[in-house]
């Protein structure tokens, strides 16, 4: 789960990291009164969960409260990469002398946290890694020991930070690492961490991604989820314990297992079709779950055909077949469907589907080919 900048900043400040004074606002007049409280120049920043806000015009300076109101009006009316802006953060503008980068994330290869620092802040770290990898420094953190002071000092020295700022930098690095572990984050990033005109280090931007699997022990973070940022079908899927990702194609698919679901999408593409979604119904496939999944798939008006691909391992094919038929009673549709059922109790499952005149396929390839031609027929009508 991604957090908004203003939420991540609040968390970071609880760990002793200095942030600019400021507050979030949902209307332009609210933005104006925040600017009035702050006095002086402010920066108005769109709060959306995508990168590239600055380039899209979603971050702008304002010299006066009424200018802040004007800028906020414009930003609140815009979309950043398709996401409507619903909130802005109004922060006091800082005098920036230098911009650095500091972040901590999970290193899959090392199976440990890694802290990354660079003297090149203010641009995406992936970009730094690509164009000037020599300016990027990493330390692997032993998860049972945590970040040690010498490691943070190594980063400070590596990015050639002025010595009088080392102590402050080490404090920020330790605060960031503690925020990352205590929030069960998979990413905690300050970009840029700026050196101000009066020689202080301030987190001008903040990014945090929290591990969904750990939200059970972070009620306060779970409450920060911005439901507006999640598409309704994906929200609905989460409610039923389904994993759904909408795509741009026209062949809906319902599969048990994430790897098989991806493979099913790939095979559809291989036979000239375009998958409309990724959907993993997980283990077991009772009628209510299948019905919910089918409803979600069909809520996408692009869908011209649906492919079921179920490998009955522990899940039994006859149960799934009954689930599909019961789901079809609940969901009325004229979208054609093809079912591929294999594995445990396959024969019984096939019999149930045949009695109901469901179209079936013997293999994944055959099912994909059938789904592609069904969709094409619908298009040509």
């Amino acid at each position: 789960m991604k957090l908004h900048e203003y939420q991540a900043k609040q968390i970071f400040s609880q760990y002793g990291i200095a942030i600019p004074r400021g507050r979030v606002a949902s209307t332009a007049s609210e933005a104006k009164s925040v600017a009035q409280e702050l006095g002086g120049r402010v920066v108005v920043k769109s709060q959306v969960l995508v990168g590239g806000r600055g380039k899209a015009g979603g971050i702008r300076l304002a010299n006066t409260p009424s200018e802040a109101e004007e800028v906020a009006t414009q930003i609140l009316a815009m979309q950043v990469k398709g996401l409507p802006v619903r909130k802005v953060l109004v922060d006091e503008a800082a005098t920036i002398v230098e911009e650095i980068y500091l972040g901590v994330t999970n290193d899959r290869g090392a199976r440990s946290p890694v802290m990354i620092a660079s003297s090149e802040g203010g641009i995406e770290i992936e970009e730094v890694a690509r164009i000037m990898p020599e300016r990027l420094f990493r330390i692997t953190i032993e998860p049972l020991l945590g970040l040690r002071e010498y490691q943070a000092r190594y980063l400070a020295a590596s990015i050639e930070l002025r010595r009088e700022l080392w102590r402050e930098f080490v404090g920020i690095a330790q605060g960031l690492y503690t925020a990352y572990t205590e929030s069960d984050a998979t990413l905690a990033e300050i970009n840029p961490l700026v050196i101000t005109g009066d020689g202080r280090l301030i987190a001008l931007d903040a990014k945090m991604v929290v591990d969904d699997n750990a939200l059970f022990r972070h009620a306060e973070l779970a409450e920060m989820r911005d439901f507006d940022e999640e598409a309704p079908p994906e929200r609905e899927a989460r409610k039923y314990g389904l994993s759904y990702v909408k795509l741009d194609g026209d062949i809906g698919c319902m599969v048990n297992g994430a790897g098989l679901a991806m493979a099913t999408m790939d095979v559809i593409k291989l036979f000239g079709g375009e998958p409309a979604n990724f959907l993993d119904i997980g283990g077991g496939a009772g009628a209510d779950k299948v019905a919910a999944a089918l409803g979600i798939i069909l809520s996408d008006s692009n869908v011209q055909a649906v492919l079921f691909n179920i490998f009955g391992g522990i899940t039994r094919c006859d149960e799934v077949a009954r689930g599909i038929l019961m789901a079809l009673k609940e969901v009325s549709t004229d979208v054609p469907m093809v079912v591929r059922l294999t594995g445990t109790n396959e024969a019984e499952g096939q019999r149930i589907l045949a009695e109901a005149d469901m179209l079936t396929a013997g293999s994944l390839s055959e099912a994909a080919q059938t789904a592609v031609s069904l969709a094409n027929e619908r298009h040509s009508v």
Partner: protein, 287 residues
């Protein structure tokens, strides 16, 4: 004949009285796996599975009494890291964690601890290990694989079954199938399992099933090029997956341009691996 598990495996089931644990313990026993004990804190002293299997409160108690040398974990995600640590602390050399949804930070700590204790972890979020005809540790259906000489290693669950089933229909047998799990931080990598298959005299060739996310397949490709004498075939899922979206598995996400299926396939091909275009074609590309 196999790697990791065989007829000598003496299995302990952590979470044996839970719904999943009990169901799969029954399946494993029917398959012929030698289950010697179960652990459920608070239920020590009970007997399950027709009164054949004793339940213990602690792993250490179960291991001392029964000589268990492998543990399979079915406990809920919030208790999984604790169960892994307990197994390692109890001296269990091979720990297989089926549980899905374990917090990543728990896994980083657990992984570090068990490595220092000399145990090996398979998973989490995995279907387990199956040595056809000898031992099934986990949830891989026993009826979809026959004994043979193909080693299978995979990050997925049902996609692995699909491949096993495709091999079985062509009467191609399997030495051992290892599901390493779909999480970003796991106990055992492709590379570890490839090295074991390379050293196993009863494995002639390997099928690797990868997916988007991370760089485990690329590392596997390097290892195959440098160290493997046995032929390897592969399938990588997720060619059509969009960037920055988690595709079900916590580990299946393309981030910042890394973890792409196309890069993995290219790396594997350049290491001499025969890559199938779709899972049905795996039997055609094995040697």
């Amino acid at each position: 004949m196999s790697i990791l598990v065989d007829k000598k495996t003496r299995l302990l089931v952590q979470g044996i009285t839970g719904r999943e644990g009990f169901f799969h313990a029954t399946q494993m026993m029917e398959y012929g796996t030698q289950i010697v004990a179960g652990v459920t804190p608070g239920k020590g002293g009970e007997w399950v599975l027709d009164g054949k299997i004793p339940v213990f409160d602690t792993v250490v108690g179960a291991a001392e009494t029964t000589g268990a040398n492998c543990s399979v974990i079915f406990v809920p995600a919030r208790f999984a890291a604790d169960a892994i640590l307990e197994a390692a602390d109890g001296g269990i050399p091979l720990i297989v964690c089926i549980t899905e949804g374990v917090p990543v930070q728990d896994m980083m700590q657990a992984r570090s601890y068990i490595t220092q204790h000399g145990s090996r972890l398979i998973g989490p979020n995995c279907p387990g290990v199956l040595t056809p005809g000898a031992s099934k540790v986990g949830i891989i259906p026993g009826n979809i694989a026959i004994p043979g000489s193909i080693g299978v290693v995979s990050r997925s669950g049902t996609l692995t079954y699909e491949v096993l089933y495709a091999l079985q229909r062509k009467e191609l047998g399997v030495s051992t199938c290892v599901g390493i799990g779909g999480d970003p931080i796991n106990g055992t990598s492709f590379l570890d399992v490839l090295a074991m298959f390379e050293d196993d005299p009863h494995t002639d060739q390997v099928v690797l099933i990868g997916e988007i996310g991370g760089t485990d397949e690329e590392r596997a490709a390097e290892f195959i090029a440098d160290h493997m004498t046995k032929p390897v075939a592969a399938f990588v899922a997720g060619m059509t997956a969009p960037a920055d979206k988690r595709m079900g598995h916590a580990g299946a996400i393309v981030e910042g341009g890394s973890g792409l299926a196309a890069d993995k396939i290219a790396a594997l091909k350049s290491a001499g691996v025969r890559v199938a275009e779709h899972p049905d074609l795996i039997p055609e590309v094995v040697a």
